[in-house]
């Protein structure tokens, strides 16, 4: 099991500790064995211990310590934001954030939506088991419909 993600100039990482917790940053230089110089569009360039960073799968093409404008342009070119938000890790974080920000009323509405979904799901399941309903294609479609509805609910 060799390493797949390396610390290199242009490596995108997530800050997992400290004041900038949760931010996506780019490694723009390596200070020494333990620290990196790190930069992001909305942050002042600063040093960070590697222990505070979790490397992501994304890498951008920059020279050592680019100017802020160059960095931002390179991030746009590599489309870091979209790649991150569509990756499974990024999506999980977004869902987590959404869940913690749910209002008490939102949680109630979510509960109702979940109940509705599972009732339909179980009815369909039993229907298929008893051979009443048409088999697999229709069910998958319905399930995907309901899943999409639920995702919209959590996303809303």
């Amino acid at each position: 099991m060799p390493f797949k993600r390396y610390v290199e100039i242009g490596r995108v990482a997530l800050v997992n500790y400290g004041k900038d917790y949760g931010k996506l940053v780019v490694i723009v230089d390596v200070v020494d064995q333990n620290r990196a110089l790190v930069d992001a569009p909305d942050m002042v360039r600063s040093q960070m211990n590697f222990k505070r960073l979790t490397l992501a799968d994304i890498k951008i093409d920059i020279n050592r310590v680019p100017k802020k404008k160059t960095l931002i342009d390179a991030m746009e070119k590599a489309d870091v934001k979209n790649k991150w938000e569509n990756s499974s890790w990024g999506r999980k974080l977004i869902v987590q954030k959404r869940r913690t920000s749910l209002n008490d009323f939102d949680r109630f509405k979510l509960m109702l939506a979940k109940i509705k979904f599972w009732v339909v799901f179980n009815v369909l399941k039993i229907g298929i088991m008893l051979g009443i309903l048409f088999p697999i294609p229709m069910k998958a479609g319905m399930v995907r419909q309901e899943l999409a509805k639920l995702k919209k609910e959590t996303a809303a």
């Binding site: 920000s101 209002n103 008490d104 009323f105 109630f108 509405k109 109702l112």
Partner: protein
């Protein structure tokens, strides 16, 4: 006594620095116009003879002297203010009651009463909570708000909720041994009418928002995995 001035007089002799005034004694004599007063009264300051005092009533010695000197308690002029209302609680906020008969119920906040308690209603038809007073400390404020503009809560204050004083009826000896005929305390019709009047427009605005009625009818409870300090209300 000279009449009191409407505005306080600004000092005619300002301080240049603390302890040093701008004008000397002689200058101030001139500024105050004492020379004019003297001239008016022929070189002398006017003197007023002391007014005759009304004869003081003869004081009788007190009939009773207490054995020990009793200390008088110090005067307390403090007037307590009503509890400061949390900024998040505004009229129409949905609150979660945390204690008492209606614990867990989600309820609509109407206004803060002069005593500091919060006036709250279910509405009664939705969750059985009547017009009720509730302490701010026993309440979680959610960020859900209901439109309360159609409701008139002017007439409600702490006196409305005071317990009714029972008239003591003198019992004869025989009646002592009878079981106390306690008639059930019926809610007076007036209070029922008040409840209905308040709830009518509230229920209309609640039904405007989907699922809100079911939300208010349900009780809040902590489920497994819910951490109150991490929940957003």
């Amino acid at each position: 006594m000279a009449a009191k001035r409407k505005t306080p007089v600004k000092s005619r002799n300002p301080d240049l620095i603390r302890g040093v005034s701008k004008y000397s004694r002689s200058k101030m004599y001139h500024k105050r116009g004492l020379w004019a007063i003297k001239a008016k009264h022929g070189g002398f300051f006017p003197r007023h003879d002391p007014q005759p005092k009304a004869p003081a009533a003869a004081e009788k010695p007190p009939k009773f002297y207490p054995a020990d000197d009793v200390k008088k308690p110090l005067l307390n002029k403090r007037k307590p203010k009503p509890t400061k209302l949390r900024a998040i609680i505004t009229p129409g906020t949905v609150l979660i009651l945390l204690a008492g008969r209606f614990m867990g119920k989600r309820v609509v906040f109407l206004k803060q009463l002069p005593s500091g308690l919060l006036l709250v209603t279910g509405p009664f038809k939705i969750n059985g909570v009547p017009l009720r007073r509730v302490n701010q400390s026993y309440v979680i404020a959610t960020s859900t708000k209901v439109d309360i503009s159609g409701v008139n809560v002017e007439k409600f204050d702490d006196k409305y909720f005071a317990k009714e004083v029972e008239k003591k009826n003198k019992k004869g000896e025989g009646e002592f041994f009878e079981a106390e005929k306690e008639d059930k305390k019926l809610l007076p019709e007036g209070k029922k009418e008040d409840q209905k009047a308040v709830d009518v427009s509230l229920i209309k605005s609640i039904e405007g928002i989907p699922d809100l009625k079911a939300y208010l009818a349900a009780r809040f409870s902590l489920k497994s995995g819910m951490k109150p300090h991490e929940l957003a209300f």
